[in-house]
């Protein structure tokens, strides 16, 4: 017991120094911390949104829309392929997420099937092909999209969306938002310090799919409303301009948002209204020039997210590769649209499924209340331990507990862990267990002394008996904490991580630190009886 190997002493001192050094940045005022040299650790504990204030948005990629778009593309491919093969068929329809079509000539079914099968692409994740073609009764062919293909599309869309959202938010200048995938089809956006998420939401929530589509003037929207059939290559789209509530436009987009190189807010030279000026890339300029020169005098609809912004008349061919979009903008909304167009369109619409906003004041109040309750708890426990076990052993418990706290806070700062309100609960449990470890040791030592052992033997046996209980209790806790960390969602994870670190440090504090203190104390006074 009294034989203290040097490595133990060094380990204890190192652990205490580690705790203090890594906890300090959290306690020092910002101006003092900034003045420290660069080699001093300066990571601070991350405070969760509930403690710091800020906004959290959980977004979901609209898998249905993604699948519908993919099926629409496949339908086009199918039609083109069969036309190329000169196979006659009746118009394909979508049934239960499959494309069903009837081949007019039964002898061509096999040829048609072979041709369509060539459309199938191998999946990147190695699981077969994305589409499959089956024959069905009555000369039908069924083209279906595999679930794996939808999953792969979703994963890709999530990746792309994160990239695009980051570009959009960076342009807004919001403070360091974190954007991360969650599960298969969700994205979490956390913006600390952002107490008004509405602008954030309007910037993230828009798909920003911009297309230029010719207005079909063969049928007026009024005639469509009266029941006149729509030409198959056209579609009715709602509008936000004052001229007409809906427009009939060609399905095919002449130019789309992917073909632009730059968008910027500007003012119209005649009306003085805010507008967005866009520049097309080479391909876009060519198409735009061709389309405008062929359709002088007709209307072009500028469509954003399936809504017509405006539908100006083409007065002359526009060959310079630029275009001015007007549409009842304010300076801010024109600016936002320019940001969106520059960042690119989202691959699929995003839905907001969860939103949390904590005001900065509430967060600050929680931190203050949390810190104050922590200090009060430590003071009460310290007083209680000194009353119960006296200055010497009570003091050991207090020093052990304080070193334990600094080790936990230091380890959490170092690993960049996030402290949340549930994490505080984990911290309290840790305090309780750390004190319990000391109580177990002290009670065992008392037992052994009462059983007639000399102080040194009592200390020795007490420690070794108590350490079995301490190890068992803490290993059980560690198992539970690790499982919760692996399976739990957000707040439960924070709790589990705090608890895991706490379990490790409190075992160390009890079996190494307390032991060191007791050994040093006994060495220096060799008393005949123990003061507990």
């Amino acid at each position: 017991m009294l034989n203290l190997p040097r490595w133990r002493v060094i380990l204890c001192v190192a652990a205490i120094v580690f705790g203090i050094v890594f906890t300090l940045p959290n306690v020092l005022p910002a101006n003092v911390a900034a003045g420290l040299p660069g080699w001093v650790p300066h990571q601070r504990l991350n405070l969760g949104l509930d403690l710091q204030g800020g906004s959290l948005l959980l977004l979901e990629v609209d898998t249905q829309a993604l699948k519908a778009e993919r099926l629409a593309n496949i339908t086009e491919d199918v039609q083109r392929t069969l036309h190329d093969q000169k196979v006659a068929f009746t118009s394909p329809v979508q049934v239960n997420g499959e494309i069903s079509l009837r081949i007019t000539d039964p002898t061509q079914i096999q040829a048609a099937r072979d041709a369509l099968q060539k459309l199938a692409q191998p999946l990147a994740n190695g699981g077969g092909r994305d589409i499959s073609v089956q024959t069905a009764p009555d000369q039908h062919l069924l083209v279906s999209l595999s679930d794996q293909a939808v999953t792969a599309d979703t994963a890709h869309a999530v990746q792309q969306s994160i990239e695009i959202i980051r570009r959009r938010i960076d342009a807004l200048g919001t403070r360091e938002p974190s954007i991360a995938p969650q599960g298969t089809n969700r994205i979490v956006v956390e913006a600390p310090g952002e107490s008004d998420p509405e602008r954030l939401k309007s910037v993230i929530g828009q798909t920003a799919k911009l297309t230029f589509q010719l207005v079909d003037e063969s049928v007026t929207p009024q005639e469509v409303a009266q029941g006149r059939p729509i030409p198959p290559e056209s579609v009715v789209i709602p509008s936000q301009d004052a001229l007409s509530p809906t427009y009939l436009v060609k399905r095919r987009a002449t130019v789309s948002g992917e073909m632009l190189t730059n968008a910027a807010m500007s003012f119209n030279s005649q009306t003085g209204q805010p507008v967005v000026v866009i520049r097309f890339n080479g391909q876009g300029s060519r198409r735009w020039g061709d389309a405008t020169s062929q359709n002088v005098g007709k209307r072009f609809a500028i469509v954003l997210d399936n809504k017509v912004l405006s539908a100006p008349v083409i007065r002359e061919a526009i060959l310079g590769g630029s275009c001015e979009i007007s549409g009842n903008f304010t300076t801010e909304s024109a600016n936002d649209l320019a940001v969106l167009l520059n960042a690119g369109a989202l691959p699929a619409p995003l839905k907001f499924v969860q939103q949390t906003t904590v005001g900065a004041e509430l967060g600050a109040d929680s931190v203050k209340a949390g810190a104050l309750s922590g200090i009060i708890a430590l003071a009460l426990i310290g007083t209680f331990m000194v009353l119960a076990y006296g200055i010497v052993f009570g003091g050991f418990a207090i020093v052990g507990l304080l070193s334990n706290m600094t080790m936990i806070l230091g380890a959490m700062s170092l690993t960049g862990a996030t402290l949340t309100l549930p994490g505080l609960a984990g911290l309290i449990l840790t305090i309780a267990m750390a004190v319990d470890a000391n109580v177990l040791i002290f009670e065992r030592i008392r037992d052994e002394e009462r059983a007639g052992r000399k102080p040194l033997m009592a200390i020795e046996t007490g420690f070794s008996r108590a350490s079995v209980s301490i190890m068992d209790a803490n290993i059980t806790m560690l198992i539970a904490a690790l499982i919760l960390f692996a399976f739990g969602a957000g707040p439960v994870k924070g709790f589990a991580w705090t608890l895991s670190i706490g379990v490790l440090t409190s075992v160390f504090a009890a079996l190494f630190l307390t032991r060191l203190f007791v050994a040093l104390w006994y060495r220096s006074n060799r008393s005949k009886s123990l003061p507990i």
């Binding site: 017991m1 939401k201 969860q354 929680s366 949390g370 209980s469 539970a480």
Partner: protein, 314 residues
Amino acid sequence: MHWPLIRNLPKETHFKFVSLAPFAAGVSALCVLASIFSFATNGLNLGIDFKGGTLMEIQTTGPAPLGPLRAALGRMGVKDAQVQGFGAPNAARLRFEQAAGADSAKAVGAIETQLAQQFPGIKFTDVEYVGPNVSGELFQGGLLALGAAIVLMLGYIWFRFQLQFGFGAVIALAHDIALTMGILSFFHIEFSMPSIAALLTVIGYSMNEKVIAFDRLRENLRKYKKMPLADIINLSENERLSRTMITGATALLALSGMLFLGGPTVRPFVIAMVCGIVIGTYSSIYVALPVILLWGVNRNVEEAEPLKPVGARR
């Protein structure tokens, strides 16, 4: 009075813990039944994390006008609007569900704007919206993690002690969870993500108590091979009585700061933790150990001495 105060505790106690067990079993059974009854009739006051919906915590310049706020929400066509005072007189908490719609998160902003117009000076300190799908998944995920953690703890206890110890612990744990949930539902304390953390803390504390109790029992089973099991349990519990009291007291002291100063957001979950610590201490003595007593332990097997005592060097 002796100094330090621990010396004032009697050196040896001879409480007959086991003789109270049948009575305690009745009390426990009644409490569990009452909890289930309360759970079945009152249900849990699920927070929006688990139920979905919108929660707003607001501050107004004067006393919060609860009635007009409720009326204003009613006019906006939201469902199940609840408006309560929250902590300070100028603070209130609004909770409601929106009419079913694809993107109700957008509507939250609209409601905020309307309230800001009708109640000038209103401040939104906390706004949360949880969609119905997410809420279900959060709940299931939490339960799954909890279940897995309990099964693995049972496994570890089986490995370190005996199987019946593991069952004793799990039955006691089920008892603790039932009672804590019963208290939550009886007092209509909101059950949200932080409450899950509170529940986990209670389970953690309770498990710690059980392992400490089992440890002492195992040690005495080895020491006194011929003593009847009931007497060994009594002896073990008397031996660790002072530790149980001191640890329980410190755990409650650790919570006291949060209980009085933590503010209205955390108070419900601190209350749940305080109840849980008392329940967990009780169930170690009166649920886990009686289960082992009823089941009996295997005392003939010569076990290998587990875990060499750490640092037993002289």
